[in-house]
């Protein structure tokens, strides 16, 4: 049997997606030789793998992910970080840097309430995620603004081969950092650009399950700039 859906079709939990020689990927599961959706999302076939791209749901930590967090408590023994996930994360002196090269004396303690951008270096079912900030571009975030979107929709803010984020950087601000956990930090040169960026991020979030998004976002930025800034047409296109 061919698959039971068209690519990008919206499916819900328990829906039969495919039968026969298929594998189940993210958002789907197999019973016998049948693949079913486990979540509400967009069904996709890639090779023999049937998956469902989620539209809503928690951020599930993954080693290697860059996340934006908030310091919940801090002591010389370590820090607890809220990463907008079902598990909170930790930074220990021994793991503050990935290799442990610099050791304990280099451990920088952040204050409670400070925001950081960090990388997940370890996580499994039995242990909470552990973070490091010892890499280029990681560490404390200062100033700017943070907004939260559905973590499942972060891939659309990045876009195909980074096309969306490239667009946002070129048109609005290059000071933007995206956490895979749904938190986006940015700083803009003025309030009008800030308003446009927020409106655009909300649009991407809301329309994450639609096609042609990058082009529509491009149009929206152009329109908003003309409205708000009186920018001459074609300046950045």
């Amino acid at each position: 049997m061919p698959v039971n859906f068209e690519n990008n079709q919206i499916v819900s939990p328990g829906e039969l997606l495919a039968e026969g020689d298929y594998l189940s990927g993210e958002g789907s599961f197999k019973e016998g030789n049948k693949v079913y959706s486990s979540i509400l999302g967009l069904a996709v076939l890639k090779g023999k793998v049937v998956s469902v791209i989620p539209l809503q749901g928690p951020y599930y930590p993954k080693v290697g992910d860059i996340v934006i967090g908030k310091v919940l408590n801090s002591s010389p023994a370590g820090m607890r970080i809220d990463i907008n996930s079902l598990y909170s994360a930790a930074i220990f002196p021994s793991t503050a840097n990935e290799t442990g090269r610099r050791g304990r004396e280099k451990f920088i303690q952040f204050d409670v309430g400070e925001n950081i951008i960090a990388k997940i270096i370890s996580f499994d079912r039995t242990h909470d995620p552990i973070l490091t900030v010892d890499e280029e571009g990681l560490g404390k975030l200062v100033g700017g603004r943070i907004i939260k979107i559905h973590p499942t929709r972060v891939p659309r803010v990045i876009g195909k081969k980074g096309s969306m984020i490239k667009l946002l950087k070129e048109e609005l601000t290059d000071r933007i950092k995206i956490g895979q956990n749904g938190l986006i930090w940015f700083s803009t040169s003025n309030d009008v650009i800030e308003d446009i960026l927020v409106a655009v991020l909300r649009k991407i979030e809301r329309e994450a399950h639609t096609s042609g998004l990058t082009d529509r976002v491009k149009e929206t930025i152009k329109k908003l700039k003309e409205e708000k800034l009186n920018v001459i047409r074609g300046k950045n296109t």
């Binding site: 819900s12 989620p54 809503q56 928690p58 659309r156 096309s163 399950h209 639609t210 096609s211 990058t214």
Partner: protein, 264 residues
């Protein structure tokens, strides 16, 4: 209750119809709406006949106090509550034994559907509030809670759909309303993971012969199949409406999935 309710002499008329005009195997009008609350991770509103119910889901989230945490799976906790004004006689705001029992059986009705093992050491909290009750609140609550779980993005083996069957004036009837529940001869709420054919809730009070029970079980399954389909439509509609809206805005066709895959 200011005025005593009149006890109906018959629940099924000579025309074979029930007091609210329904056929024996007919469901009440049902309306599902998904994503109705701003703070909850998932939510749903259900109108089932005159029942008005809201269900909300928080989680999976860190569980406090920690000693309740399960090392191999998430802890599911459902809380069923009725507003004081949801029933004829004002309900005391204090939790009742009935609410405690229903909270437990609703938890048990939903639990088999959820991949709890994906999220060890966390909790999934389901809060159900009955705004107005008109018979069959536990089933309508399960229908709402199941939608709220799906809306929260929690992985499920299947949607859980529920409906009551019963007996009135000697006839097997589907989806009892308040009067049929009170004055009928039997009431049997049931819930299923319909696709799998798993029954996750079954209660009964009243009297059935074994033949009647079998007939009721079959009728209940038919009702559940219809509700199950309505649930799917409600979930899809939440996102389809936005898609339709932007389809008007732009004709450009780009593969969403490629974008998502390539930056993973």
């Amino acid at each position: 209750m200011l005025f005593e309710e009149k006890i109906p002499e018959k629940l099924i008329g000579s025309d074979g119809l029930r007091l609210d005009g329904r056929k024996l195997d007919e469901l009440r009008p049902i309306k599902f709406e998904v994503g109705v609350l701003s703070q909850a991770d998932g939510s749903a509103y259900v109108e089932h006949g005159k029942n008005k119910i809201i269900a909300a889901v928080y989680g999976p989230r860190e569980l406090h106090p920690k000693h309740l945490a399960l090392q191999d799976r998430a802890l599911l906790r459902c809380l069923y509550r009725m507003a004081t004004f949801s029933v004829s006689e004002r309900k005391s705001p204090a939790p009742s034994r009935r609410e405690a029992e229903l909270s437990m059986i609703i938890t048990q009705a939903l639990q088999p559907a959820i991949f709890l093992e994906y999220y060890p050491r966390t909790s999934i909290d389901v809060y159900i509030e009955i705004i107005e009750a008109d018979g069959g609140t536990r089933c309508a609550s399960i229908n709402a809670a199941s939608l709220a779980l799906a809306d929260a993005g929690i992985p499920l083996r299947d949607l859980v759909a529920a409906c009551a069957v019963g007996k009135a004036d000697g006839q097997i009837i589907l989806d009892l309303n308040d009067l049929e529940d009170k004055y009928g001869e039997a009431d049997m709420p049931m819930a299923m993971l319909y696709r799998r054919g798993d029954v996750t809730l079954l209660q009964m009070d009243g009297q059935f012969t074994i033949e009647e029970f079998n007939k009721a079980l079959e009728l209940g399954k038919t009702g559940i199949s219809k509700i199950y389909q309505l649930q799917r439509d409600a979930l899809r509609n939440k996102y389809l409406s936005i898609r339709d809206e932007v389809a008007d805005e732009s004709e450009v066709k780009v593969e969403i999935t490629k974008e998502v895959e390539e930056n993973e």
